[in-house]
Amino acid sequence: MLEMRGRGRRPEQRRRGSSHLVISLFLTATLLSSVRAAQAADINPVRFVTPNGMTVLVLEQHWLPIVQVHALIKAGAAQDPPEEAGLANLVASLLDEGTTTRTAKQLAEQIEFVGGTLTTKAEEDFTTASTLVLKKDTELGFELLADILLHPTFPEQEVKRVRSQILGEMQSEKDDPGLVATKAFHQLVFDGHPYRWPVNGTEETVPKITQADIQNFFSHEYLPNQTILAIVGDIPVEQARALVAKQFGSWKRGTPPSRTVAKPAQIDKPVVRLIEKDLTQATIVLGHLGISRTNPDFYAVSVMNHILGAGGFSSRLMDSIRDRQGLVYGVGSHFEPNLMPGAFMVNLQTRNETANQAISGVLTELKSIRETPVTDQELADAKAYLIGSFPLRLDTTAKLAQVLSLVELYGLGLDYFSQYLRWIEKVTKEDVLRVAKQYLHPNRYALVVVGALAKAKVQP
C-alpha cells in the first residue's frame, strides 16, 4: 500500500551500489518459488556448451518481437583483492565505455538509436551484461554485447571518469539510511570475508585501483568457460546457435584463477553498531550469517522465512509489528542465497522513540518460531504461496533470462523446474522448527541502528 506520485523519481544512481539489498531481493523473488507454473508455462530451454566452453541456454518465446541476451560471468566482488574492493564493479562499469572498434559514445548511440538497452552489473558472486532489443535488431544486440565482453579497452580517461563517478555516488549513498545500515551490517557479519564490503567498494580502496588492475582482472576472469549465456525471446534456436558462434566463437578459453576464499564464520556474540544521523526514523537491521543457495535446507528455510517475515502482509513480523503495534510501514526478513553463505537479516524503519519496542518485537518473533512449531494452517499457506506464485516469477523475458542463468550457476539442473514443487511440498512442521533452531540466532546477532541516537536510546 503505497503512495505513488507522477513525479519523484530518484536519480538512477541510487540503484547502483545498493548491492547487498538488491541481491537479496532479487534472489528471494526469483529462486524461492518455482514449479507448477514452470510446467504450465512449458519452460524447456535448450542447453549446449560451445567449443570454447560457454554454456548457452536458449528459450524460444514468440509472443512478442523482442529478444533478451543475458550473460553471466562467474566473477564478482567476492573475487576482489581485499585492498581493491570495488574492482569487479569498476570492470563491469567500464565494459561499455569503449572497445577496440567503438568509443563509449558510439556504443551508447548504436544501441539507443534502435531503442534497445545494454546494461552491466557486478554482484557478489558474478557479473552480468545484458541486452534487450526488438527482434529486427537481434544481430546488433549480439554484436554489441559480444563487443563489450570480448574487446573492452578501458581507456584511461574513462577509467578516471567512472572511478570518480563511483566515488561520488558512494558519498551520495550516505543520504540513504537503508544503505548506510546495510553496509555497516555486512561489515559486522562478514568480518574478514570478501562479502563484508559493498560491491562498489569503499572510499579507501576505489581510488587505488589502476587501469592495470582492471585490465588484469578482466583478462583473468572474463573467460567463455566461465560464462553462462541465456537467450530468451523471439529467436529460433538455430539462429541463436549461429549468432553465438559468429559473435562469441573467437573468445579464447582460459584457465580460471583458483578460488581460495574460506567460508564466512558465524559471529559468536551480539555485536551492535549505532550510527548517528539527524532523521525522524531509526533504520534497523538485525541478523547474522545465513545459508548458501546450495544448502539442502534451502527449501525448508524458504518456508520458515516466509512464515516469519518474507510473506508480506501475512507474515508474523508484519502482523505483529505493523498491524498490531503500528510501529512500521514495512518490516521483512531475508536470506541472501549466495554461493557461500550470505546474510540473514530483518529490516525495518520506525520512529526513533519506538526503536527498542520494534527490536524487541523482532527478537520475540525469532525466539517464538524457534520454540513452538508453526500451525498447520501457516505451513499449508506458505507452501501454497511458494508453489502457486511461481508463474509470477517467470512472467517476463528478463525474469526468465535471469532465472535460467542462476539455475545454471547454482547447478540446480534444468529439472529444477519440476523438482522445486516436490522439495517445497516435502517440508514438514518439524523441518521448519529444526531449521529455525539451526539457522536463527536471537542470542548472537549483529544489530545496526541508524538514526537520532539520543531519542532512540537503544538498549539492546
Binding site: 500500500m1 503505497l2 503512495e3 505513488m4 506520485r5 507522477g6 513525479r7 519523484g8 523519481r9 536519480p11 544512481q13 541510487r14 531481493l25 508455462a41 509472443w63 512478442l64 551508447a108 548511440e109 538509436f113 534502435v114 531503442g115 534487450l132 526488438l134 571518469r161 561520488g168 558519498q171 551520495s172 540513504d176 551480539p270 555485536v271 553498531r273 548517528e276 544521523k277 532523521l279 526514523q281 518474507a310 508480506g312 502482509f313 501475512s314 502482523d319 505493523r322 498491524d323 503495534q325 503500528g326 512500521v328 510501514y329 514495512g330 521483512g332 524503519q349 520512529r351 499457506d381 504461496y385 502457486g388 506464485s389 508463474p391 509470477l392 517467470l394 512472467d395 517476463t396 539492546p460
Partner: protein, 454 residues
C-alpha cells in the same frame, strides 16, 4: 511482495509507464470494453503467453480530490481498504490472495487510487469476488484507523521526511502550485494526518467508491467472453453511487520565476527546475514527450552527455514528464551535483541545455532515436501484463480514455524537429519556472559511530 520494497519499486515504475503510453497497432493486444448497467467500465485483454493474470480496480480519486487541511485522505483510505468487510474480516484479504499464490497491493497518486492482485489465471474469480466485496462493503473501525494512521506516518517519515531529495520535490510542488491540489503531497502533511477523522474517511469512501467512478482492468490468461458473465454476476449488483463533483480548479498563470531552497543534512546538492506544461489534452504533449527522451533517455541523451560525461559536474541527471495527468502538471529536470562541484554552475548548465533548443532544433538523428526509443519501450512494456493494465487504467482514470493510447504512437511518429523547438521555446522559459535547490549542511554533531560487544 514486501510492502516496503513494493513501494520503492513502484516509484520507479512510472517512467516506464510513461514510455508505455504509445501503441503501435502492429503489436497492440485487443482491448475489449464493456460498461455494466451500474456504470462500471470493464477493460479486458487476453494474453495467453503465461498462466498468470493481473486484476486491477482503478478509482477516479486521488489527492486532487482532497481539500486543504485533509491532505492525504485518499491515501489513508487506500490503507484502510485492507481492514476488512462483514464478509471478509480484517486480515483475510491478503491472506486469501497469498495462499492462492498471488500478490496484492495498492497505490495512490494525485489523480487515482488503484488496487491490484497478480495471480494464476485460474484464480481470477477469487480476486474479483474480493474486489467486488470491498467496493462498498468496507467497515471503517476507529481502533484500526488509529493504528493505521501511525503506519502512514511511518511511511511519510520513510519516503519524505528522511529523504533529502523527496523532501525538496515536495517543497517544489508546493511552490509551483499555489491553488491547485497538486500543491500538497499524496501522502499528506503530519498535521492533516493527525486531524483526519473516521467521518472524513467514510465521506470520501461513500462519494468516490462506486462502480460509476471505477474501471476494472484485467490482463492475462483469460477468455474475455467467458469471464464477462462472472464479472457481471459479481459487480452488477453493486448500486450506482453519487456522481462525484467535478473540480475545475485552475492554477493561474505563473508570473515570474519561483525559487525554493532547502537546507538540511545531506551529502550532495540537488537541483531541480520545473516548468508548467499541458497534459494529454494538448497537441503539445507529443513533442514534450519527445523532448523528455532527447534530454534524458540513456547515455546518448543531452543531459547525460553534457553534465555527466563531458563537464563531469553531475552524478545523475534526468527529465520527467507525464502527459497522463488529469490536470496540467510540471515538466521537470534535475541534477545530482557531483561532490566538489558548484551548484550554481550545474543549474546554469541545465538551463543551457534547455535553452539551446530555443534556437536550434534537434538533429534528425536525435529525433529519430527518440521516436525509436518510445516505440521500442512500448513493445518491451507489453511483456508485462501489469504494465499494460496500468497504462489502460491510468489513461481511463485521468480522463484521457484508453482509446487515446491507440493513436498516441502515430502522433509521436509525426512530430517534427520544428515542433520540438517551438514547444521548447514556449514552455522552457524563466518566468514559468520553479527552481528547487537542496543545500547540504554539515551534521549537527560529528557522527558518533560506536561499536561494542555485549
Amino acid at each position: 511482495m514486501p510492502l516496503y520494497h513494493a513501494g520503492r519499486t513502484a516509484l520507479l515504475v512510472l517512467p516506464v509507464l510513461l514510455s508505455l503510453w504509445q501503441s503501435p497497432s502492429a503489436y497492440a493486444s485487443e482491448v475489449r470494453e464493456s460498461v455494466l448497467t451500474n456504470g462500471l467500465k470493464v477493460l479486458l485483454i487476453e494474453v495467453p503467453k503465461a498462466p498468470v493474470v493481473t486484476v486491477q480496480v482503478w478509482y477516479k480519486v486521488g489527492s486532487r480530490n482532497e481539500v486543504m487541511g485533509r491532505a492525504g485522505l485518499s491515501h489513508m483510505l487506500e490503507h484502510m481498504m485492507f481492514k476488512g468487510t462483514a464478509k471478509y474480516p480484517k486480515g483475510t484479504f491478503s491472506r486469501t490472495i497469498r495462499k492462492n499464490g498471488g500478490n496484492d497491493n495498492a497505490f495512490t497518486s494525485q489523480d487515482f487510487t488503484a488496487y491490484f492482485e497478480n495471480l494464476a489465471g485460474d484464480r481470477v474469480e477469487l480476486a474479483l469476488e474480493l474486489e467486488a466485496d470491498r467496493m462498498q462493503g468496507l467497515l471503517l473501525d476507529e481502533k484500526e484507523f488509529q493504528l493505521e494512521r501511525e503506519v502512514v506516518k511511518e511511511e511519510r517519515r520513510l519516503r519524505s521526511e528522511d529523504d533529502p531529495q523527496s523532501f525538496l520535490i515536495e517543497s517544489l510542488f508546493a511552490q509551483a502550485f499555489l491553488i491547485h491540489p497538486y500543491h500538497w503531497p499524496v501522502i499528506g502533511w503530519f498535521p492533516d494526518l493527525n486531524a483526519m477523522t473516521l467521518e472524513d474517511l467514510q465521506r470520501h469512501y461513500d462519494l468516490y467508491y462506486s462502480p460509476n467512478n471505477a474501471t476494472l482492468v484485467i490482463v492475462g490468461d483469460i477468455k474475455a467472453e467467458a469471464l464477462l458473465p462472472t464479472i457481471k454476476r459479481l459487480f452488477e449488483p453493486i448500486p450506482k453511487g453519487p456522481s462525484p463533483p467535478l473540480q475545475p480548479i485552475e492554477e493561474p498563470a505563473q508570473r515570474g520565476e519561483r525559487r525554493i531552497i532547502v537546507k538540511r543534512e545531506a551529502q550532495v546538492p540537488f537541483v531541480m527546475a520545473g516548468y508548467r506544461v499541458p497534459n494529454y489534452t494538448s497537441e503539445d504533449s507529443y513533442p514534450l514527450t519527445i523532448l523528455e527522451s532527447i534530454l534524458s533517455q540513456g547515455k546518448s541523451s543531452r543531459l547525460y552527455r553534457s553534465l555527466v560525461y563531458e563537464q563531469k559536474t553531475a552524478l545523475a541527471v534526468g527529465a520527467e514528464y507525464s502527459l497522463l495527468q488529469a490536470d496540467p502538471d510540471l515538466f521537470y529536470c534535475f541534477a545530482l551535483v557531483k561532490p566538489g562541484q558548484k551548484v550554481q554552475e550545474v543549474e546554469q548548465a541545465l538551463y543551457r541545455e534547455l535553452e539551446q533548443l530555443h534556437t536550434t532544433p534537434p538533429t534528425e538523428q536525435e529525433l529519430q532515436r527518440a521516436k525509436n526509443q518510445v516505440e521500442a519501450s512500448y513493445v518491451f512494456g507489453q511483456d508485462s501484463n501489469f504494465r499494460q493494465a496500468m497504462l489502460l487504467g491510468q489513461a481511463e482514470s485521468v480522463g484521457a480514455g484508453w482509446r487515446h493510447v491507440e493513436q498516441f504512437l502515430a502522433r509521436i511518429r509525426s512530430v517534427t524537429a520544428e515542433e520540438v523547438q517551438r514547444v521548447a521555446r514556449r514552455y522552457f522559459i524563466e518566468d514559468a519556472r520553479t527552481v528547487g535547490i537542496l543545500i547540504p549542511i554539515p551534521p549537527r554533531s560529528e557522527p558518533a559511530a560506536l561499536s561494542e560487544a555485549r
